[in-house]
């Protein structure tokens, strides 16, 4: 079995398949015509808050959002 089979260039550079796939999808979305482009970018907006836990309690959450002010 070839465990040293030719790896794709992105994996050789340290990227995972999921990053590669998401980069490709973003590039395609950026090349869309107008109403479709706005819909696609709107669809892909994310909003989440992360908090690290220490000693059984959550610390101050970090908010990451594409819709500022929410």
């Amino acid at each position: 079995m070839a465990s040293n089979a030719a790896v794709p260039f992105w994996r050789a550079a340290g990227m995972t398949y999921i990053s590669y796939s998401n980069i490709c999808a973003n590039l395609v979305r950026n090349c869309l015509k107008e109403p479709f482009k706005a819909e696609a970018l709107n669809r892909e907006k994310v909003h989440f808050s992360i908090s690290k836990w220490a000693g059984g309690k959550p610390e101050k959450p970090i908010l990451r959002s594409d819709t500022p002010g929410v």
Binding site: A12, I23, L27, V28, N30, C31, K33
Partner: protein
């Protein structure tokens, strides 16, 4: 593996009768005396015994293979946010696999194909619907069902050619000026995706 079985079956008995139990690996409480009548009759029968079967040889293949090749291919084309085609019966799809454009007809051999950025076309009679797929996978099953999954797929009409040209120029320039491996990889991805879009729009 099972071709060797009859040789191994006879060999294990020969080894047992020539060495004592203490020199065999993995034998702890086995009796040290061997029954010679058993060994003789086993030696007679061993070369003629079929090797043992595995559970999978008793199972029917899933999904069940139709006795005759179906006339239509059933396509399920899904994206994360929508089911573009759900159980649609078509004549043929051409998918952009990493190994090249692959034509899928009913009765195609079961395959799992990784897709590269490229054009996918769905042929139904004289209608051809074309999509540009960013990347994904295609699972072709034995019962002529094709599951194609993509992260982003757009009909070709929705792509803006001027943006594609601009992106291609930008990434070609980035590729030339990239320093780290990661930058080079990202620029290369950009060049590949934009060239594929260009080719799809013009081809």
């Amino acid at each position: 593996m099972f071709r060797q079985t009859s040789r191994l079956l006879s060999r294990s008995i020969a080894a047992a009768s020539s060495k004592s139990a203490t020199t065999r690996a993995f034998s702890t409480e086995l009796p040290s005396t061997v029954d010679s009548t058993f060994i003789e009759s086993w030696k007679k029968v061993a070369p003629n015994i079929d090797p043992p079967q595995t559970p999978s040889s008793y199972m029917k293949p899933r999904p069940s293979i139709a006795s005759s090749i179906p006339t239509k291919l059933t396509v399920n084309f899904v994206l994360p946010y929508t089911s573009e085609l759900a159980g649609k019966e078509v004549d043929m799809v051409i998918i952009p696999a990493t190994t090249g454009q692959m034509g899928v007809l009913p009765g195609h051999v079961p395959t799992i194909a990784e897709l590269k950025p490229g054009m996918m076309s769905v042929h139904e009679g004289t209608d051809v619907k074309k999509y540009f797929v960013s990347s994904g996978f295609a699972f072709l099953h034995a019962n002529s069902v094709a599951d194609i999954i993509a992260v982003e797929a757009v009909p070709l009409e929705n792509i803006d050619p001027s943006q594609v040209q601009k992106g291609l120029a930008e990434f070609t320039q980035k590729l030339a000026s990239a320093t780290t491996d990661l930058e080079k990889a990202e620029a290369q991805i950009g060049v590949e995706v934009h060239s594929a879009m260009n080719a799809a729009l013009s081809g």
